[in-house]
Amino acid sequence: MNIDKKITDDLVVNDISFVTTVPCKQLAGVIKEVEARDEIFHIPSNKEDEGMGLCAGAYMGGKRPAIIMQNTAIGVTINTLATLIQYYRMPLPMIISYRGELREPVACQVEMAVHTKALLAEMKIPTYHFHHQSDVAEFDAILKYTFMCNKPVAILTDANFWGGYGDQ
């Protein structure tokens, strides 16, 4: 299974046509796939809170948005999640590269990984963790759930899910 294609197919099937991204090595394949699809307008952001602002505008303009980002950005976006996305009750799927988990080669990434789930829980953000490739089967249902309840929803995707970092 090509998980980059599967994730992008599910976005398209769920009519998600506005996607903003801040890159991560693990997300490179899915970002490339999103960029290649005619059904999706791909707009890279310079920072994740900016990206959430773009998504809020797209949603009010009648499009279904999504953001693709790293978990380090949870530290950047708490205020935006609380005072924009949650306060105005907007749906936002957040496809998050969960750095700092098993098979992570960069020690500093662990420093935000240990806070990631706690911060999402504190924000009362529904959170799903993809650890095995087969977990992606739930992605379609998670997207439907997000636009049913009008909330930001986090999908954490770790190194094991993406197939690790080779021999590192």
């Binding site: 707009i43 602002g53 773009l54 009010m60 303009g61 009648g62 205020n79 924009l84 306060y87």
Partner: protein, 184 residues
């Protein structure tokens, strides 16, 4: 002129279009001067009026005017390259540049010192950047709308505030009526 005088001056233009208004006093002043369902008031999240406006402009065809301040553009300076590289000809970013953080007590911003936001916008790749005096804002704004070209307007004005009540409307009501105005 101070910001509230400019908003009063341009209100007849604004009410014909979708407006995303910056957090704090700008939203409170616009709400007091001419509340419209087509106004999206930001109650929090400093810096994102330009991003919300761009996302909105890229997603539908009506003209969108983001009313921002020099301080909040400095907060989200990464917005200018994103705007420059994702042209929406129904989008106008109106930066009311009074050189100060008005909502927090008129502390000076760097835009009030050595930094020129119009030059930053141009360096970021924005193609239509217009600097105007406070008294010319209405004329320049209308010309930008009529041009049907994405435009960044930097309006130089005096710092100063008027007493205004806070906005007590529920955020979901603001969002809901705004979305109805978008799709009307």
């Amino acid at each position: 002129m101070i910001r509230s005088e400019i908003l009063r001056d341009i209100a007849p233009i604004l009410r014909e279009h979708l407006v995303v208004c910056n957090i704090g006093l700008p939203s409170q002043e616009l709400h007091m001067i001419d509340d419209q369902p087509s106004n999206f008031y930001m109650l929090g999240t400093m810096g994102l009026a330009s991003s919300i406006g761009l996302g909105l402009a890229l997603s539908q065809s009506k003209t969108v005017i983001s009313i921002d301040g020099d301080g909040s553009v400095l907060t989200n300076l990464g917005t200018l390259p994103t705007i420059a590289n994702n042209v929406a000809d129904n989008y106008i970013l109106l930066i009311i540049d009074n050189g100060s953080y008005g909502s927090t007590g008129d502390q000076p911003t760097y835009a009030g010192k050595k930094t020129r936001l119009e030059k930053v916008a141009e360096a970021c790749g924005c193609e239509n950047v217009v600097v105007c005096r406070d008294v010319d804002t209405g004329r320049v704004l209308q010309a930008a709308i009529d041009s049907k070209k994405m435009t960044v307007i930097v309006c130089k004005c005096d710092s100063g505030n008027v007493k205004v009540p806070v906005i007590t409307m529920d955020p979901v009501v603001i969002r809901d009526r705004f979305m109805k105005a978008v799709s009307a």
